[in-house]
Symmetry: C2
Subunit: 404 residues, 2 copies
């Protein structure tokens, strides 16, 4: 009987890559394996005690509201807080520009649901965030890939690439997942200029913007775009996405979209049919934890912890990885990206690595066209420093044997 | 610039009805208006104190797990608890048959995402749950409506209707939203028989099954279906949906799907691209609140409260509503359904009612074809008994004037 439930999009999603990631994430729960595979925050930086206090306050003071249905747009004090925070970073918005989503992943899904018609081209970075490919595969998007170098997206190729027509440009300017690179200020300005000239909107995905461990903050595309003199308020060409997953906790599944009010209204209607609204309780608790300056202090703490882990991983790579391998040196975020000479396939290397009790994500999972299997993504936020050293030592050993 | 963000489905969703509901839900927040419009549980039955204790326990004992990413399928102890509960009601399943969703609304969306191709027919009850029409409009479903009478779906019309081809049958057998009627046992068996013979699966939406105030529990379609002798375990033709929204709290957005493992796997992949997983924290807290028999006791409390409100509303209708109006007498759930003589339009009546500070949902919002505007849905769970009497008195007054 169950075969009657036939899939409508059997070949459309990145099923294979999705299942690789899923199997890998399962490995991260095995205590013997040191996993650089997931994108998990370090659990030891979670503000558990502050959450407990916030839950009690929310339930004692607003219990009936916290457990009830609420508006699709999201908890107003939380949206106001996000607006104030955004203004500090040059994105001039109010709560009418903000929709709370169930993590950034839902924002990607809603954008697909509202805007992508079957066969629409999306201009993406190559590699790009796997979750976006998964979200938009459902809506049968096609992709135009633009390579990355150590300054981020090769923006000089964008104008040419847009000639094929593109629904929007998808960019991760800060501490790219998976590549670890950051889009330079010059290229940001250039990208905004091209997108504006060609009439193509931008989806800016910025989960890690606050997690910079080196160098100066660069303005988000949404801020550069709204500087265009003709605009009053935020009616920009950029849809900006961010999340509490990396700066507070991912388990509560709270992200947000910043966009022109007309775009927000479309996304709200789509979200209404998707899950009505994100958890009222989690939104109120997140606000209660974050308010009064706690979030800023907490981000400082995360920066110190992850900045140290990044340095530990870079030193360990220097010590244990064979000379044939190159890697990016991120200035923030959660990931770095290692590249092997072309003939090597990191899917095969992963099988050996797992036997040696260390894991990573084979790079091809982040490419829309099945290339990139000579690369790997390494997460440096999840494991404690001593485990990072031991894991990279194990992985280095595996690679030394492969290169013999 | 913002006009570049052009909708992909401008005419496809039930935009008009959605905006009616949205505007009405906004009215429910106005303290002067007695609203029978929403589908809100009574906030005074929320187990606020139990939530506070559960939050503290979860954060003290499993804080790092509760705030971290988790699996798409959902928190295993919660799925095991749902499985045990389902077995008690004749649905023989294990956790491998269960996916936790962000409310039942997300289950409807995921079913659409995985199974509905543009132009697919869905056999629905007429009227039906507005949220399903909203969810599936996105995937460009077409509808084959089957009328309801006081025994629920007119099942004898189903075989004939299925000749046009149908992807699945969508049924709300218990205390129908919006109509308040319950599918008789005889018709349940008949529906299962027809669906099985015609090879058409069923989506059974059962948010209120536990909230019966009169008469005996009837077996869900999923239980009748899995009684078919050829089956071992649950590999049934029915996808069963339910939710914690009406028996615990809607603010935490937790529902579940029960289906054959092969169907669950497809829905899991779709959910992964949609929001990764539902809130880990809310799932663990819900489990902690519900476990050890609390949920069963709490449901008894809700039954007493809502059962009383239903009787209060029925008595008030008898006293204050004009003789021309008919209404259903539900044996459970949250809603009853009133029908006016054909020429009357409840959209017009609503405008007057709001001036008189009482609200309801005009019935046409629940029809897929723009009919039904001579009916109205009345919620009896949200308002306290004295407000129900006053609200029905006000509405009766409005109707008396309309009928003059």
């Amino acid at each position: 009987m169950e075969t009657r439930w036939s899939n409508r999009y059997a070949q459309r999603t990145h099923t294979m890559e999705a299942s690789i990631i899923r199997e890998l994430l399962k490995l991260t729960t095995h205590p013997d394996i040191i996993s650089f595979a997931g994108g998990l925050p370090a659990p030891d930086v979670f503000p558990v005690h502050e959450f407990e206090e916030a839950c009690s306050r929310v339930l004692r003071e607003h219990g009936e509201q916290a457990l009830q249905y609420s508006t699709t747009e999201g908890h107003l004090p939380l949206r106001e807080m996000i607006a104030r925070h955004s203004v500090r970073y040059g994105i001039n918005v109010g709560p009418e520009n903000i929709l709370i989503t169930s993590g950034s992943q839902q924002a990607l899904d809603l954008i697909g649901k509202v805007f992508i018609n079957s066969g629409d081209n999306i201009l993406i970075e190559h590699p790009t965030y796997l979750g976006a490919l998964q979200a938009w595969g459902t809506y049968q998007a096609e992709y135009i890939p633009i390579p990355l170098d150590d300054q981020g997206m090769c923006v000089e190729q964008v104008a040419e690439a847009l000639r094929a027509g593109s629904k929007f440009i998808y960019a991760l300017p800060n501490f790219h997942n998976p590549a670890g690179v950051t889009l330079s200020l010059e290229r940001r300005k250039k990208l905004i200029e091209i997108a504006s000239r060609e009439g193509v909107p931008i989806v800016e995905d910025d989960p890690y913007g606050q997690l910079r461990y080196q160098g100066d903050h660069l303005p988000p595309l949404a801020a550069l775009d709204s500087e265009t003199p003709s605009k009053s308020g935020y009616s920009g060409n950029v849809i900006y996405l961010s999340t509490f997953s990396k700066i507070l906790a991912p388990g509560i599944r709270l992200g947000w979209v910043i966009a022109a009010p007309s775009v927000i209204q479309k996304l709200v209607l789509a979200k209404q049919g998707t899950d009505l609204h994100s958890s009222t309780f989690d939104q109120m608790v997140a606000y209660e934890v974050a308010k009064g300056g706690f979030l800023d202090q907490h981000i400082q703490r995360i920066r110190r912890a992850y900045g140290e882990r990044l340095q530990v991983m870079l030193s360990a790579l220097e010590e244990y990885f064979p000379g044939e391998i190159e890697w990016t040196e991120p200035k923030g975020g959660l990931f770095l990206w290692a590249t092997l000479p072309k003939p090597f396939d990191t899917r095969e290397i992963l099988k050996i690595a797992i036997q040696e009790r260390v894991a990573f994500v084979p790079g091809g999972a982040f490419y829309s066209d099945g290339s990139g299997w000579n690369s790997m993504r390494l997460n440096f936020s999840y494991c404690a420093p001593d485990l990072i050293v031991e894991g990279i030592r194990r992985l280095g050993n595996v690679l030394e044997h492969v290169f013999v």
